[in-house]
């Protein structure tokens, strides 16, 4: 149906979006690249001389840089694991017939509506605080030492908090996908004597494959730049235990106000994000248009 006329019309219709996004990407990107070659610290006004690759050198040799890369990957990977596996579990469970379906679904989905700042504050103070938090209280009343979550298990605590918010999202998408599964196919398999395990493995999981890809893609986009949760709870510490790439850039450009070095970090993060994007594209391309 694509005639020449509709092709040019199509191009016209897509152009506002493309132009806007190009602008949104290119203007800050160009400024960031430009700044990344300047010796530019907001706290030292005056000239901003050309600095060559100096900023990149300083950023990459930053003692926190390696930790930031591993932490970013650990966070994204950890949260993806928790939410995908947990999401499949929840979706299978919620798909079953039960009473009060609406109420139960609402309770499961609700965390997705909570602001990241609020959820981090609530978990940090009301639950994980070793003196006044609920977990501390429970531990003390059972005769255990209260656990200092952000001191002892900082990365796991962050993964836990963020997963609490994203698990409902994964559940939502996977549940929708599961509901479109042909029930007769499942019943036929059951008649043929297939156990639950093999029905799950050979029928349900392949059916969910696309939905799982979507969950991974969307979450990766959001999880690469986790920030508010870290800022509110651990400030990237103790040490560099919870410093991810986003937080490291925040430290250099907005705490040390070294715009040059922060920009160099931004450029590096963009390159890394694009590598991830290409990787995801390959993966999703196979799955989405199959």
């Amino acid at each position: 149906m694509s005639t020449k006329a509709s092709r040019s019309a199509a191009r016209m219709m897509i152009s506002p979006a493309v132009l806007l996004l190009l602008g949104w990407m290119l203007i800050p990107l160009c400024m960031t690249v430009y700044f990344s070659f300047l010796r530019y610290n907001l706290l030292q006004p005056g000239t901003t001389p050309f600095a060559g690759w100096e900023n990149y050198y300083w950023f990459v040799t930053d003692p926190s840089f390696k930790a930031a890369i591993t932490n970013t990957l650990a966070m994204v990977g950890g949260i993806l694991c928790v939410t995908t596996i947990g999401g499949i579990g929840f979706a299978l469970l919620l798909d079953k017939p039960m009473f009060a379906t609406g109420l139960i679904r609402i309770m499961v989905i609700a965390p997705f509506f909570v602001m990241p700042t609020v959820s981090a504050l609530v978990w940090k103070n009301m639950f994980m605080n070793p003196v006044n938090g609920i977990f501390g209280n429970l531990a003390t009343s059972l005769g255990f030492q209260p656990i200092d979550f952000f001191g002892q298990y900082p990365l796991a605590s962050i993964i836990f908090i963020v997963s609490w918010m994203w698990l409902p999202f994964a559940t939502l998408i996977l549940l929708t996908a599961l509901q479109s599964l042909d029930q007769e196919q499942l019943e036929a398999a059951e008649m043929d004597g297939a156990g639950w395990g093999s029905r799950f493995w050979f029928i349900m999981l392949p059916h969910l494959a696309r939905a799982i890809t979507v969950v991974i893609l969307i979450q990766t986009i959001f999880l690469l730049s986790i920030f508010a949760e870290i800022l509110v709870t651990t400030n990237g510490g103790p040490g560099t235990a919870t410093t991810n790439l986003t937080y490291l850039i925040y430290v250099s450009s907005l705490l040390q106000f070294d715009v040059g070095m922060g920009s160099a970090g931004g450029v590096i993060a963009i390159i890394l994000a694009n590598i991830v994007a290409i990787f995801l594209m390959r993966m999703i391309g196979k799955n989405l248009d199959a």
């Binding site: 070793p130 200092d148 002892q152 900082p154 400030n235 103790p238 560099t240």
Partner: protein
């Protein structure tokens, strides 16, 4: 700056420039403030100024770290989002020297305001090149808060002079009673140059350490730093509350007011809150002694001040100045005394307030605070000579970054994630990097 000019002309040609608000009689000013108790009181009283002048105030209340980032970003880029900012003794001289703040020297011409009444020491701390750039709401040093009832129960006599940190640790050991949720000592552990490094900085000074030698070489791998941090980690691990590496000033204040700490070395400005029966459960059983010393008594109490300043980018400097005068006037402190109780009056700024009999009656410790503040000398903070001023901070722009990093490393050592040696080695490496980058080390 050429980018600015190009963008501006583009903006004009697209007609995107929102109409500048015309300067009318009544103005609307925006104040960036921190969520400390004394600032919240100011926010509650401010409607009186609004009614008297017809102006209105927009308050932007932020947590300290966020406030510092937002205000620095705005003032350094000449953003003009705020007409008044709360800034500290670290920022005022640096920003003033950069030309980012409106000088307030004309306050001296107003006899009602009586600028001379504000302690010289505090004014000096908020000046650069002889010009005053901010006026203080309160200023503080650090001293030891302790629980008289717990000391009595444990049979300890409170020190009258300045104890040593060794003696202090012995006290904490006797007072520590975690089964009853009373911890021997609470100290700042949350990473940040204005958080744990404020206490750790004074502790390091007491142990004879310094940040830099006279050639600006970082000294973080010195035996003095090692002794100080080892002491700190041991003290907090043995006699501190659980989760100490997450506790900042406000967290500890809440713990202390809730009766969970036997001792606490922190800001004198928290005294009025802790001794206020309306806000604290330990008001009657709290007293104070000097912050401990060790190898030296130099730099054992920090110096800090929260002050109001006007960014040079503000379009409403006159209205802002009017508010500044009101908010740091003698009348303001009187108003706080009358409405919130004299115990709640911010301390450490005005001689007349500190001599007021009503204050001395409600807050007998005010004299202790004044003496403690007067004993601080930011120009001579350490045992060995140093090229910088500042007790718990180093008054150079690079310090924020270094202080935050060292703070993180110390917090990691406190949380048991790494050894003290490792933390200090990392810190030294980072400090050398930063100082090299900034051109101090050739």
């Amino acid at each position: 700056m050429f980018i600015k000019r190009t963008l501006l002309s583009t903006a004009v040609s697209f007609g995107l420039v929102a109409g500048m608000t015309s300067a009318a009689m009544a103005e609307e000013i925006t104040i960036a403030t921190v969520n400390n108790a004394d600032m919240i009181v100011m926010q509650e009283l401010a409607p009186q100024w609004e009614q008297a002048t017809g102006n209105t105030i927009n308050w932007v209340v932020l947590e300290e770290n966020v406030l510092r980032q937002r205000t620095t970003q705005d003032i350094a880029t000449n953003g003009g989002s705020f007409d008044i900012m709360f800034i500290g003794a670290y920022e005022a001289p640096i920003w003033g020297a950069n030309g980012w703040l409106t000088p307030l020297d004309d306050f001296a011409d107003d006899p009602d305001y009586d600028l001379e009444d504000i302690f010289q020491l505090v004014r000096n701390g908020l000046s650069a090149d002889g010009k005053l750039y901010a006026v203080p709401l309160y200023s503080e040093t650090s001293f030891t808060f302790y629980r008289t009832d717990l000391f009595e129960a444990a049979g300890i006599e409170a020190p009258t002079g300045q104890p040593t940190y060794t003696e202090f640790a012995e006290m904490a050991a006797k007072l520590h009673d975690p089964d009853n949720s009373v911890y021997g000592t609470c100290q700042r552990g949350k990473a940040g140059w204005g958080e744990n490094m404020a206490f750790v900085g004074t502790l390091a000074n007491a142990f004879g350490a310094r940040w830099f030698d006279m050639e600006w070489n970082p000294q973080l791998d010195s035996p003095e730093w090692n002794a100080a941090i080892t002491y700190y980690v041991d003290l907090m691990t043995n006699y501190g509350p659980p989760g100490a590496s997450g506790n900042g000033h406000n967290e500890n204040r809440a713990l202390f007011k809730d009766g969970k700490c036997a001792t606490w070395v922190d800001a004198t400005s928290a005294a009025n809150d802790v001794r206020n029966p309306e806000t604290s459960s330990v008001a009657d059983v709290t007293d104070f002694f000097q912050a401990p010393k060790q190898e030296t008594d130099k730099g054992t109490g920090w110096f800090w001040s929260w002050a109001l300043a006007i960014p040079a980018s503000s379009q409403k400097a006159d209205t802002a100045k009017d508010f500044l005068k009101w908010a740091t006037s003698k009348e303001y402190f009187e108003m706080v005394g009358e409405t919130k109780g004299w115990v709640a009056v911010p301390s450490g700024t005005r001689a007349s307030v500190h001599e007021d009999p009503r204050l001395l009656k409600a807050a007998p410790f005010a004299e202790t605070i004044k003496n403690a503040i007067f004993s601080v000398d930011p120009a001579d903070p350490t045992r060995d000579p140093v090229p910088y001023t500042g007790v718990q901070f180093v008054a150079i722009p690079e310090f924020q970054g270094i202080g935050n990093y060292v703070g993180q490393q110390v917090a990691a050592a406190l949380a048991g994630q790494q050894s003290v040696e490792q933390a200090l080695a990392n810190s030294q490496q980072f400090a050398v990097r930063e100082m090299t980058k900034a051109g101090y080390i050739k």
